[in-house]
């Protein structure tokens, strides 16, 4: 079969095409894969790719060398990432001057450049392949399997890796009921936060009365610190499209929408390219693969409202109205977009579908815990050594994610808490680090799975401030439609502000708990109902910090201005005079060879001395 400008007419064409593409790859061909995911791109990987491309073009013809843009590898901490085939040699923190050396030594010469390899900070050993690095070794990659391998802008690359074979399988040998049964067997639950069983949603939508039916992909990822969906859309857009096609077949839909944040320009671009390529090849449109399925997808760009990730707000926004939620007493699978049956799933949920169809629901169900199957992608961020995107089997402990994959807390600090589940999630303390990560276990701890944000916090983090930060975020992002969310969050923020300002009152914790209870019970949508989780979970596990703020007017983490003092350690002070000169209010006295002293009455707690002292003699107490 011709590998250019093909249009598939039957399911069998896909496998034939895939083989043809793979057959063209010569055994001696070499590929340089440059990560152009957002993290690496921000560190200049586009330019690095360009240099490799030029080098490949200028090289001799006797070896086939290809430079390839690929999506996020997940190891954003160490970007830009470059992988050289054959050998799968992974170079990290590659800079422009390194390109020529990599090309000469590794690509042409087949020699490994030691200094660009990952070095384990504990053992000092270097790893040349991804699987030798602890960050990757503990992970299990299903959704992210091809991220970092394929060029997201080339459909042929996706098909060569087995892409669209699940669609071919579905269309050639499965009924819609079979598809739903397979997804049911997998135990897949929604990855967007709610954790609703995907198959049950599909079946309800299939059985709902009314036509047309819509399938929608929720790509409005907005949690602070989360970039799972972003990386999937940017790095492997066809997996989402293939998932949606299979869903559309199972549900009986002819029109799909991908709602993606406009702040994700690369995701919008790659999805757009992917959709038009899929159309050209007959994978979207009328009578797909010569069968009865007709389906097309439109991209809708969000306008930057966090609440548009909520299903009914998202649908209102899709309809061109303001993104404001409505009551869901009648489910969206019955009456959603334009009052028609609508099936909304998150990006990661859709991207799991092709693998489930290809390898079977039972294979998927073998991974994970009793009620949470498969893997989950987390964006591991915060005070952890290896920040990045990680995919782990459900049931792995938080400790393994943070210590083994994340490499532990950075700068030798002590671990304090990990925040999971985004702004509606909660903070989990050290004593629960051996909890297995699944939907139910995290909920039991007062947090949630959410869409997969994971923020690690060290001992210097004030938990009251953390609660205040998330409350403030939610208060700003609340649509303001319903009273408890709009007014209740403002009241909570008012109390939290007062506590962190050292003006907390006895009874403030009870007031916060009352408001939290009111919000949970009476708010209109999930944003409001779960908005108090950060406050509740920090009260539950870090009540002593609240008490210290309120009763002792002291911030134990020394983050809240005014709730701690600066003092100079007599022993450590070298009497250099730097702080003395830097102090804007002349609060520091001292002379040569005499340790300096801060006049607490004059000090405005600006922190300049603390920042400037080269001997860390200035302490927060």
């Amino acid at each position: 079969m011709n590998t250019a400008a093909a249009k598939f007419a039957a399911p069998a064409d896909i496998e034939a095409f895939s083989q043809a593409v793979r057959g063209k790859i010569r055994a001696d061909s070499k590929v340089v894969r440059v990560c152009i995911g957002t993290g690496c791109a921000a560190k200049g990987s586009r330019k690095i790719y360009e240099l490799f491309r030029q080098a490949a073009e200028q090289s001799m013809d006797d070896v086939k060398i290809e430079a390839k843009c690929v999506g996020c590898h997940g190891f954003c901490e160490r970007g830009p990432i470059v992988v050289v085939e054959p050998g799968e040699i992974l170079y990290q923190r590659v800079e422009e001057p390194d390109v020529a050396e990599i090309f000469r030594e590794t690509v042409l010469g087949g020699r490994v450049i030691e200094r660009l390899l990952y070095e384990d900070s504990a053992t000092g050993t270097r790893a040349s392949k991804a699987e030798e690095i602890p960050f990757y070794a503990v992970q299990k990659r299903i959704v992210l399997e091809n991220n970092g391998r394929i060029d997201p802008a080339r459909i042929t690359d996706y098909i060569a890796q087995g892409g669209y074979s699940a669609l071919a399988k579905v269309l050639s040998s499965m009924t819609p009921e079979d598809v739903i049964a397979e997804v049911e067997a997998s135990g897949l639950r929604g990855r967007g936060g709610g954790g609703f069983p995907t198959a049950r949603k599909w079946r309800s939508c299939r059985e709902a009365k009314g036509k047309p039916k819509y399938v929608v992909c929720n790509g409005d990822e907005g949690d602070p610190g989360a970039f799972m969906d972003r990386s999937i859309m940017e790095g492997n857009p066809h997996s989402v499209i293939e998932g949606m096609l299979i869903g559309a077949y199972a549900i009986g839909s002819e029109q799909g929408y991908i709602y993606v944040r406009n702040e994700y320009p690369l995701a919008v671009e790659h999805l757009g390219t992917a959709i038009s390529q899929a159309r050209e090849m007959g994978l979207l449109g009328k009578n797909i693969l010569g069968g009865t399925l007709s389906f097309d997808i439109e991209i809708n760009r969000g306008g930057g409202a966090f609440v548009c990730g909520e299903s009914t707000a998202l649908m209102a926004s899709l309809e061109g109205r303001a993104g404001v939620p409505r009551a869901k007493y009648i489910h969206t699978v019955e009456s959603g977009l334009r009052n028609k049956p609508t099936n909304l799933n998150n990006v990661e949920t859709w991207a799991n579908i092709p693998a489930i169809i290809n390898r079977g629901g039972r294979w998927f169900a073998d991974i994970g815990t009793k009620n949470s199957k498969g893997t989950k992608v987390f964006s591991l961020v915060g005070n952890v050594r290896n920040t990045g995107l990680v995919e782990v089997p459900m049931g792995i402990t938080l400790r393994r994610i943070i210590d083994e994959i994340g490499g532990g807390v950075r700068d030798g600090k002590r671990f304090k808490a990990v925040q999971t589940g985004g702004p509606s999630g909660g903070c989990i303390p050290a004593e629960h680090l051996d909890t297995r990560v699944d939907f139910d276990e995290l909920t039991k701890l007062g947090s949630m799975m959410g869409s997969g944000g994971m923020i690690v916090m060290d001992e210097d983090t004030c938990m009251v401030r953390v609660a205040k930060y998330f409350t403030e975020f939610l208060q700003k992002e609340s649509c303001g439609k319903c009273t408890p969310c709009r007014e209740g969050l403002a009241q909570m923020l008012h109390i939290l502000g007062r506590i962190t300002d050292g003006e907390g009152q006895v009874g403030d914790i009870v007031r916060l708990e009352e408001l939290a209870d009111l919000l949970e019970g009476t708010a209109l949508c999930a944003l409001g109902k779960t908005a108090a989780n950060p406050v509740l979970s920090t009260i539950r596990y870090f009540r002593d910090e609240y008490d210290a703020h309120i009763r002792d007017r002291h911030c134990p983490a020394k983050e809240c201005r005014g709730l701690f003092r600066y003092e100079i350690d007599e022993e450590a002070c070298k009497a250099c005079g730097i702080c003395l000169k830097a102090c804007p209010v002349d609060a520091i006295t001292g002379e040569k060879k005499v340790p300096h002293v801060i006049d607490q009455d004059k000090c405005t707690l600006c922190g300049t001395c603390w920042e400037k002292c080269p001997f860390t003699a200035v302490m927060k107490v």
């Binding site: 409505r326 439609k481 009273t483 009241q491 009111l518 019970g521």
Partner: protein, 261 residues
């Protein structure tokens, strides 16, 4: 017809009607603010919270828009439902402390004062229930006002917070406002009606006889296109203010020669 059991009392209502409809039929009062029979329920104020029996647990729901599809059991006067309603009311009182209408409703619910300080006020005494927005769009068909801003910054406003050309000065928004925040102001000298706080104004029709401003000219034109009355007779009817109409009718009678037996 499904049966709704409210606080032990059974009522049967048409499928698809709401818990609030059932409560009304049962003669049980549930406080509401953003509910109005003329418009679709948005359930934004969250004042009409009641408890729905889900078997092994109870869920707080809004009575005004929860559709009755099968037999259900709800509790209006349970402790949790009352606490929820009181909590919402206290938040609203903190937002709109000067509204007498709101205070009266709170009083009827047994809420005497709020424990919360006033921390939000993007629009004086507006509780953002949205009835004005809904009535303008769904009943009047103008959508001259809408929501602007988000969260605590949310307000009801005409586009760009300017006087709206779409406003016909009908005053329906003021009529449905449950807290008396929207007011109609007459500017007799300019022969204009103003809907406050939206700044929109409409020219008024004057009584042909005494010159008193009667109603917005646009409203009468809109009404003409909607009402099925003999147009000529109706126009004639709208020419005068009620007082002058009485006087004119009396005069007409007086001018008719008295028939003698």
């Amino acid at each position: 017809m499904p049966t709704v059991t409210i606080d032990g009392q059974k009522v049967r209502i048409k499928k698809g009607l709401t818990v609030l409809d059932a409560a009304k039929k049962a003669g049980i009062w549930i406080p509401t603010l953003c509910y109005h029979p003329a418009v679709a329920s948005e359930a934004s104020c969250r004042l009409c919270m009641v408890e729905l029996d889900r078997g092994d647990w109870r869920q707080l729901i809004t009575a005004c828009n929860y559709p009755v599809r099968q037999d259900i059991v709800v509790y209006v006067s349970s402790e949790r439902a009352e606490k929820a309603r009181r909590g919402v009311m206290e938040l609203l009182l903190a937002r709109a402390p000067e509204s007498r209408e709101l205070a009266a409703l709170a009083c009827r619910m047994g809420v005497e004062k709020t424990h919360y300080p006033s921390v939000t006020e993007s629009q004086r005494n507006c509780i953002l229930c949205g009835l004005c927005v809904s009535v303008c769009e769904q009943v009047i068909g103008r959508a001259a006002i809408g929501f602007a801003g988000r969260g605590a910054e949310r307000t009801v406003a005409a586009p760009f917070r300017q006087a709206s050309e779409d406003c016909i000065g009908c005053g329906a928004c003021a009529a449905v406002c449950p807290v008396g925040t929207i007011k109609i102001r007459l500017h007799k000298d300019e022969r204009e009606i103003e809907i406050s706080p939206f700044k929109s104004r409409a020219k008024m029709v004057l009584c042909e006889r005494c010159g008193m401003p009667m109603y917005s000219g646009q409203v009468s034109r809109e009404a003409m296109s909607k009402v099925k009355i003999g147009r000529k007779a109706f126009t004639e009817y709208l020419r005068l203010c009620p007082k002058c109409r009485r006087t004119e009718t009396a005069e007409r009678f007086a001018s008719v020669p008295v028939r003698r037996e």
